[in-house]
Symmetry: none
Subunit: 211 residues, 4 copies
Amino acid sequence: MGVKDRREREKQQRRLSIIEAAEALFSELGFEGTTMQSIADRAELSKATLYLYFKSKEELYLTVCMQGLSLFTDRLQKAVKRQRSPEAKVRAIYLAYIERSLEDPMMFRVLQDTFIERIRRNLSEETVRQISGTIRQWLEFGARLVEEGKERGIFRQDLDAYGFSLAAWRMATGLIELALLSEPMVAEPPELRRTLERSIDYLLKGACPQK
Amino acid sequence: MGVKDRREREKQQRRLSIIEAAEALFSELGFEGTTMQSIADRAELSKATLYLYFKSKEELYLTVCMQGLSLFTDRLQKAVKRQRSPEAKVRAIYLAYIERSLEDPMMFRVLQDTFIERIRRNLSEETVRQISGTIRQWLEFGARLVEEGKERGIFRQDLDAYGFSLAAWRMATGLIELALLSEPMVAEPPELRRTLERSIDYLLKGACPQK
Amino acid sequence: MGVKDRREREKQQRRLSIIEAAEALFSELGFEGTTMQSIADRAELSKATLYLYFKSKEELYLTVCMQGLSLFTDRLQKAVKRQRSPEAKVRAIYLAYIERSLEDPMMFRVLQDTFIERIRRNLSEETVRQISGTIRQWLEFGARLVEEGKERGIFRQDLDAYGFSLAAWRMATGLIELALLSEPMVAEPPELRRTLERSIDYLLKGACPQK
Amino acid sequence: MGVKDRREREKQQRRLSIIEAAEALFSELGFEGTTMQSIADRAELSKATLYLYFKSKEELYLTVCMQGLSLFTDRLQKAVKRQRSPEAKVRAIYLAYIERSLEDPMMFRVLQDTFIERIRRNLSEETVRQISGTIRQWLEFGARLVEEGKERGIFRQDLDAYGFSLAAWRMATGLIELALLSEPMVAEPPELRRTLERSIDYLLKGACPQK
DNA sequence: TATGAATGAGCGTTCATTCAT
DNA sequence: AATGAATGAACGCTCATTCAT
């Protein structure tokens, strides 16, 4: 039945437009700061309609988080493919993460929330497993690149590959957070941009000259 | 009069117990998530009593933050004094920051919140200014150590001292956040501990061996 | 669609019942003395529902006032139209003001409150401006009548037209206040009625016979 | 015992200083707008002490009101004594009432409150009887002056003496209210001052020239 | 399916009043 | 007699959620 199909498509469309509106608002105002009314307004639907698609504000939030993950994955994969050497790949993936985050701060922020204890508490085990699983995959991918680099003598032999991945990821994330603040707190935007770009070199080359 | 003294002591005690309750709740539920009622309940006082000691929720929050900051400041200062070389000082300050954070996770969490956009939006400019001012002082202190190191040839001449401080701080913070999650998401606690301790070396010595 | 019409009618009805409840309470207890809860109770609605119709207590108050003012305006306009000479017009407007006030004491009281310093302090400038603007228009209308009377030699040439309007208005208001007290304080109701009716002559003809 | 006397005197002094503080605040901020704390602050006493002298905020308010009456009486009596003719006496009493009110707006406002239904509701019968009794005495005194004037042919024979007193009193009161508004609503201060002074002539001489 | 309307529960804050000392 | 400390009850207002249509 074409009618049924159309109905189904419209329903999916509605669902997407709710998610889109929610993402924008959650990332800008946070979970508590966002009201169902504001999401409904932005999606040009009534508040009650939201509850036909998501059984609570909570569930809508989770849906938004999950959707964001795949967008990051896509970008990082592309970035990596263009490079040959492990070092270049690490650098590329690092910078792609930064770029993607600055491009779509909303998604970045919503995802960061999943690392905040009090928000995670509201997520189902399944959800947490899915999110952390995906992130772990990236980190392991990064670790493999480092291992490869170690084998080729590009990276120090005593480097802990996974730990290094973790450190790089957290450093990037932390600096991006600063860069996304609406008003600078401890550093000005241009300074932060420069630091963001150079930060991977702090990690790769170190602060101390070596003999 | 011993009576007055006792009264004064009791008052200070009450004040402290409010701060303690607030710290626990702010760290667990965030600024918006924490209600004055819940703080009062935890401190076994009435909501109105809170207002005898703090003129608003925000002032209480600021008090908690500033108290936390001074605990950090104390610790970092001590750590630095024990060392001679700039490199050792940087390392010491870095590790002291981690140690102190793991010792008092609640305080750490409350302070991190001030870097979350939507929480800052609910704080007065003055509150934000006070907190970020203190943090900036640490960062500048770190930057001065790096400069000193550069002068002595211990650090690379092309290093951006303030940027390096920022990067180190954010890396530590990000890794501590992971370590404080009640359930591991992407790494196990022992692994994280190790990574935390080594992370400063990732920054100081770099990943790539240098010729 | 009849359904929509009915809905709209019901909505207007609800709005009116809120205004009615508010008017009764504001007139009895004043602006500060009246709570949104008490208005809701009287209108048999929940407190939150009030906010679907009026965005704040003040807006509701202003609505009640402005509605009251327009009822007065209507009445005064009608009264004036039936008369020819300025003197008759002044007399008619004066008596119409009294009649309307005695008919709808609640409205009268609500409007008087806007002249009480401490109530005005709780109203926004805009609210005060709107109310006093309307009242000023009446006073100016009264003053124009007096001017006209002066031109025709009906009123004394040295009469300050606006000042005379003010005096008449305040005298009427003050006497109405007495008449509306639930228990007589300084004069019995019949006596007050008589005084109210004659009071305009005290002003027009004066107490002293003139040679 | 001199000690007991002193104690008693101090107690009375305390009581007076509370009344004084209360009067200032009640008249400026109204009953609801004034807090027991603010009265205590102004009287340089603790809040709890207020309750040793007055059993509630209500009772304190009433005490303030009652005290104001005698001050007015004194002034009006003096004003009247200086004049000979009934007309001059009426004029003098009228202007003295205005002067005294403008001099001590606080007392004026507190007394006006007793004519507001919702405040009177809280007064004991005794209190209301006392206040209205005193006012009635003034009005009757005014009425006797008018009668005297009528006998001497100074006032119109058909004048209702008591009604005329009432009208004059309410007109004065109403205009004073306007004059005491912190921001002009319907007339500027100088205009109001002029109107206040002339208003008694509107009543005595009338608006219409007589043949 | 979609929604306008309604509301219970809760927010931060204030204040008259009480009570132990 | 005086008070510092405490609090219950309320305030205006908001919001996630429900329900009749």
